[in-house]
Amino acid sequence: FNTFPGTPKWRKNDLTYRIVNYTQDLPRDAVDSSIKKALKIWEEVTPLTFSRIYEGEADIMISFAVREHGDFYPFDGPGMSLAHAYPPGPGFYGDVHFDDDEKWTEDASGTNLFLVAAHELGHSLGLFHSTDPKALMYPLYNSFTDLARFRLSQDDVNGIQFLYGPPPASPADPKVPTEASPLESGTPPASCDPALSFDAVSTLRGEILFFKGRYLWRKLQWKSKPELHLISAFWPFLPSDLDAAYEVKSMDTVFIFKGNQFWAVRGNDLQAGYPRSIHTLGFPPTIKKIDAAVSDKENKKTYFFVGDKYWRFDEKRLSMEQGFPRFIADDFPGVDGKVDAVLQMFGFFYFFSGSAQFEFDPNARMVTHIFKSNSWLLC
């Protein structure tokens, strides 16, 4: 699944909707029941509730239109684009527009209104398109869907519960899915888990990013509480379970590593020619992946950590330096164990190793403090 960039979601559970106008293809009560049924499938797997209003501004305004209809996203006549919707937010955000040049039906003889409404309402709640062909949020309309036994896919449930969590469990109301809660499979990591470790850590334009599995925490300078996002919300092309990441501030670029490949991103954009092989940096063929990396903006050198050794890359000459690898223990005494991630902040290097974090003073050449890895997440 994917969420919209920035992961917009409703900050309340009780939402309103209004059917602003109707298509001529169906009786009004058929439209009403299709929309209601579409809302119900999301209601059943979240804490969300939907109340209908008949005038004024609802959170989700539902309308039918053709061609240019006032939102710079004109429809295209019969076929192709069937409908569109906007992510959560004020005004037109959250709204759903159906292309009335389609033939809207209650069965599969035309374009099934319930099925398209369920997909579009997924957008209104904050889900973006999924790459899972079995998912409701897959972008292509599947006219062969078994409407009588329609169910959300696990991918859809994981996505919506990433945003809003599961429905409140109550013995009287077995809304809680019988099989293991989908959060187990796509569970976001808990920031205050004392055993928390990170896959990678990097700065990015003054922020700090902590990568874990499919997720990242984003630590903003002006905001104490870190934000949890899907990596794919910012960089859909990146894999999960990354190995390393670092920012070269002079290039306004973050380099992200997994296996024997690395990506260069500037903001949300992948730089041309990436991903590349890590061996283009000068690593010997025996190196299949790296554990961690950090770029020292003072001396314009980048340190790559692999096992108990490290390499140093000269950002000015853009080449790996001679005399490496060296043992980590020789030059960073006190930094024990495999290095998962490294962060340079306030003139110190912070080495993350499992749930421990070593603050290393490069001038004194010693570890000055040992913290829990998740101390930056303000538990």
Partner: protein, 82 residues
Amino acid sequence: YPLNGAAKGEDPNVDFAQQYLKNYYNLGKDEKQVYRRKDNDPVVKKIQEMQKFLGLEVTGKLDSNTLEVIRKSRCGLPDVGQ
């Protein structure tokens, strides 16, 4: 450039595919719109991105399977975020 096609006005499939990539995969205005079928061609890269997202074989070419899929009805929202 190959004379076939390019000189006599674009192949309609290429036009349709480029419009699809603009609508749903952020094929930029500034990116060369000439579909040169070379790996570093931005249109080829966008075709590959679209094929990967939709679960198609990533060929970078407008093969029949890809052309069939991009003519299917779909949601009007893009597949990659901006």
